[in-house]
């Protein structure tokens, strides 16, 4: 009789990690430097991978291991590299000034987290997923919050690169939601999605690169030629 994992512990761990992820996200909102936000993103993605692994471990859902592995490799490993490389290639300046000042934006992200909880409340039904349940609720809320905050980051930040980061963290939110709700999508879909994310980042990277060399500034709020 092998060691039977105790769901309770699992839930604790996952909730803790999820909380951490959320904290990281909010930190990213407050973060000024690009490099450090990339780092933050890397750590966050790593945590997600870990969450996935934990879930896989506690539910003997083998295919989630793959998802976890992919996450760690892609989001925690490959993408940050790429982005940093890109950053060096363009050699952009450090400081980035958000449209909304830091305290306020942190406040807003708090509000968004709240919204996340409200939304999660509205449709989360423990009884349906009885045994594995408990991890759902908080995690789901966190996922939604991640999504919204990522979106907010995209609205808020001026630099092309940080918008990409926002998009990526938003994707993280989706990933978290996916695994915490349904233990991942069917494998084909998972792989497809990962592939897409990868390509998307490549495409965006190329664009960022070109913008960088065309406008010698990464400030996308300066891109206002096309208007009525």
């Amino acid at each position: 009789m092998p060691f039977v994992p105790n769901p309770e512990i699992g839930n604790r761990i996952i909730t803790l990690m999820a909380a951490l992820v959320l904290v990281l996200q909010i930190a990213a909102v407050g973060q000024r430097g690009i490099v450090s936000s990339i780092r933050l993103f890397a750590v966050q993605s790593f945590l997600l991978g870990a969450i996935a692994a934990v879930i896989a471990y506690f539910n003997q859902a083998s295919h989630i291991y793959i998802a976890a592995l992919l996450t760690v490799l892609l989001k925690a490993g490959l993408l940050p590299r790429l982005l940093e490389r890109l950053m060096e290639r363009i050699g952009i300046r450090r400081e980035i000034e958000p449209l909304i000042n830091v305290p306020l934006s942190i406040l807003i992200s708090g509000g968004l987290t709240l919204l996340g909880y409200v939304v999660a409340e509205s449709f989360y039904h423990p009884e349906e997923t009885s045994a594995r349940a408990a991890l759902g609720h908080n995690t789901l809320a966190v996922a939604i919050a991640l999504f919204l905050i990522g979106f907010f980051v995209m609205v808020n930040r001026r630099k092309a690169l940080t918008q990409v980061l926002g998009l990526l963290s938003l994707e993280n939110g989706l990933f978290l939601a996916a695994i915490s709700l349904t233990y991942g999508m069917p494998l084909v879909v998972e792989i497809g999605i990962f592939f897409d994310v990868l390509v998307a980042v490549l495409v965006l990277g190329i664009l960022v690169f070109r913008i960088g060399e065309t406008f010698d500034s990464m400030d996308v709020s300066k891109l206002r030629k096309l208007r009525e």
């Binding site: 919204l115 939304v119 509205s122 919204l148 609205v155 001026r158 709020s221 891109l223 096309l226 009525e228």
Partner: protein, 681 residues
């Protein structure tokens, strides 16, 4: 008796138009061939169509048939009844004249303009017109309706190089689209309550519609049809668009195209809906009065011959609406025979106006053709170089002024009788409206007479005022034949009205279940009588003959006088200052001066006089005088509307300011809101 059945005949005439359209388009590189194809096939179609309409009217019973369309949603279904027959008859008469006229008129296009295209649009217009009059299915009706508008648009902007023309065309087609929209809504309303687009399926409907739906349906259709008919205040496109088109097209536009609005009202209000509430009838009557009076008043101030005619179309549509409104009211009030008389008045005036307005536009066309200007102040003395045109125009002028013994008089007389009868028939205070409307009709008639005195005299009489009208020539024969036919029609419909009346029996029976022509004729078929309630009578024929007879003794006296005491030509009395020249002539502006002063409230005239002085202010070297009236509706109603639209639109443009953050923010906010919306049940 019936050589060919109605529907095959109809198909043939449609086919003729179609061949004319595509044939002339096909050989657009050979102008003269294209011209022949265009005119010949139009003529053929007209002859066939006329034949069929006569057949249908004689037979009386409607012929309905249906053609499978390529669109699975709908079938093309037609119904050729008396009403359709009547309007097709009018169409046929006009087209016959106009296409004959065009043989000569289009010659000048050769080498200059694309006659193939013209022929295509021209025949397409005719085709859509006859389909509009015959369609028995909302879908088909709307398609034909809009094709008609688009073809007309194409013809209006035929001289699209001219900026004014383009603007006029746009105004026209946009208004046309608005009215199509109204009809679309109206039909959708009806279709929704029956589930079928067939007119036949609407007929039983009138009972089921609740008050709100009835009102909505009436308002929508009324809007749609009045816009098309160019009724004030929806008229602004008409005086803009009709003058700029080639004259043979203007003749059709004013002659028959705006009448589709009248047709629509008759078809929907009387036939399909089977009557409307009495307030609606009153509305029609009042709108008619307003647009008759205002139309003629605006016409008086015009010095552009074709614009003047266009405004008279507005006026006459008003007169027609008086009759129609009376018919609607009587029908609701339960006086079918009276309604029939009123309807006959309206329809007869429709036909008459079609004929003489077409005639006048063709006349204006040949004047334009030889002088090259539309401005009356440049014309004058044309009666000598172009006598035939002048004569035709004179007849048209007498007819449109409603003077006896021509057709205009007869239909206005019938309208008077209908209105007078209304006073006796309708209870309550509203009855006062009828004689008042009658007096306004009198005002309209008199003003129209004044206006056409101006139009004819300034154009054709006295000395040429401008270089354009100095050395001009008579129009080619084909054009004269076209006009001559219509002139004859004016006389025949006036003098022979008593023999023509039975034509209306089938229609009145179909729409009101009454055959009244026998009531309307008395005195050995010579006398037209008001029929039922009031017993007024008139006999244009006797009047005409009588006039001739009575002129004989006068002529005799004059002849004697002239024989014994001679007659010589002398100079005009020039107050002793020798050298009376065209500068001394009375101008159109001067002629309308008195009325401009009297109705200053309406016109808000603006005049400026600049005098250039030489030595002392008492001897001005030259004086420039210019005067213009305020286009009230354009200025007060439409301009602000457009202004508003554009201001709002320019405001809106700030939402597309190019900032990606703003764009993302839109989505973000929408998302948050919708999430909240989704959360609360």
């Amino acid at each position: 008796m019936y050589i060919l059945s109605v529907n095959t005949g109809f198909a043939l005439s449609v086919a003729a138009y179609a061949v004319g359209a595509f044939g002339s388009l096909a050989c657009w590189q050979k102008p003269s061939l294209a011209r022949r194809i265009c005119c010949n096939f139009a003529l053929t179609g007209a002859v066939l169509g006329g034949l069929i309409s006569v057949l249908a009217i004689l037979r009386g019973t409607p012929v309905a048939w249906s053609v499978p369309s390529g669109i699975p949603l709908f079938a093309y279904s037609f119904s050729y009844d008396a009403l359709a027959g009547f309007f097709n008859l009018a169409l046929a008469i006009l087209v016959a004249a106009v296409s004959t006229y065009s043989f000569g008129y289009l010659k000048e296009f050769e080498g200059k303009r694309n006659i193939g295209l013209f022929g295509f649009l021209f025949n397409l217009l005719l085709l859509s017109l006859t389909v509009v009059f015959t369609a028995a299915n909302a879908f088909l009706f709307l398609i034909a309706w809009e094709v008609m508008a688009l073809a007309a648009y194409g013809l209006v902007i035929f001289y699209h190089e001219d900026r004014e023309t383009r603007r006029a065309g746009l105004l026209y087609v946009i208004m046309a689209h608005i009215d199509a929209g109204c009809l679309l809504l109206g039909f959708a309303l009806l279709i929704n309550s029956t589930g079928s687009a067939e007119f036949a399926s609407f007929r039983p409907l009138s009972a089921q519609l609740n008050g709100g739906q009835q009102t909505a349906a009436f308002v929508l259709f009324f809007l749609g049809f009045t816009i098309k008919a160019g009724v004030i205040p929806f008229h602004i496109w008409l005086p803009a668009a009709h003058p700029v088109a080639p004259s043979n097209v203007s003749a059709l536009l004013s002659g028959i195209v705006i009448k589709t609005g009248i047709y629509g009202m008759a078809r929907i209000f009387l036939d399909v809906l089977g009557g409307v509430p009495s307030w609606a009838g009153l509305l029609v009557l009042i709108v008619g009065v307003v647009s008759a009076v205002l139309g003629v008043l605006y016409a008086l101030m015009e010095h552009d011959l074709k614009r003047l005619l266009a405004y008279h179309s507005i006026e006459n549509i008003g007169i027609i609406l008086m009759g129609l409104g009376a018919a609607l009211i009587f029908r609701v009030a339960g006086h079918p025979t009276l309604a029939a008389v009123a309807l006959i008045a309206a329809m007869f005036h429709t036909l008459n106006h079609a004929i003489f307005k077409c005639l006048l536009f063709l006349g204006a066309g040949s004047v334009l053709h030889s002088t090259g200007t539309r401005n009356m102040e440049e014309m004058g003395g044309l009666i000598r170089p172009m006598p035939v045109t002048a004569f035709c125009f004179l007849i048209g002028a007498v007819a449109i002024s409603g003077l006896p013994p021509l057709n205009g008089f007869v239909s206005e007389w019938l309208t008077y009788q209908a209105l007078l009868a209304g006073f006796g028939a309708i209870p309550g205070l509203t009855r006062i409206l009828f004689p008042l409307a009658g007096s306004m009709l009198a005002l309209t008639g008199a003003l129209a007479a004044a206006c056409f005195v101006k139009a004819f005299a300034i154009t054709f009489l006295a000395l040429p005022r401008g270089a354009e009208s100095r050395n001009v020539h008579e129009a080619p024969r084909a054009m004269l034949i076209g006009m001559g036919g219509l002139t004859l029609a004016c006389a025949v419909l006036g003098l022979g009205v008593t023999w023509f009346l039975p034509v209306f029996d089938a229609m009145t029976e179909q729409l009101l279940g009454q055959r009244v022509s026998s009531h309307l004729v008395s005195g050995h078929g010579l006398v037209l009588s008001a029929g039922v309630r009031t017993s007024g009578t008139v006999s244009p024929l006797v009047i005409a003959v009588g006039l001739l007879v009575l002129m004989l003794p006068a002529a005799l006296l004059v002849a004697i006088g002239v024989r014994s005491f001679g007659r010589k030509r002398g100079p005009v009395w020039d107050c002793g200052l020798p050298g009376l020249s065209e500068e001394n002539e009375y101008t159109a502006t001067a002629f309308s001066k008195a009325l401009r002063m009297i109705f200053a409230v309406l016109y808000k005239p603006r005049r400026e006089i600049q005098a250039v002085f030489d030595v002392s202010p008492y001897f001005p070297k030259e004086i420039r005088f210019e005067s213009e009236i305020e286009p009230t509706f354009e200025k007060r109603l439409y301009a602000p509307l457009q202004e508003f639209l554009f201001r709002v639109s320019s405001r809106m443009r700030t939402i597309q300011a190019g900032s990606i953050h703003a764009y993302l923010a839109y989505i973000f906010v929408t998302l948050v809101l919708l999430l909240l919306f989704g959360v609360r049940k």
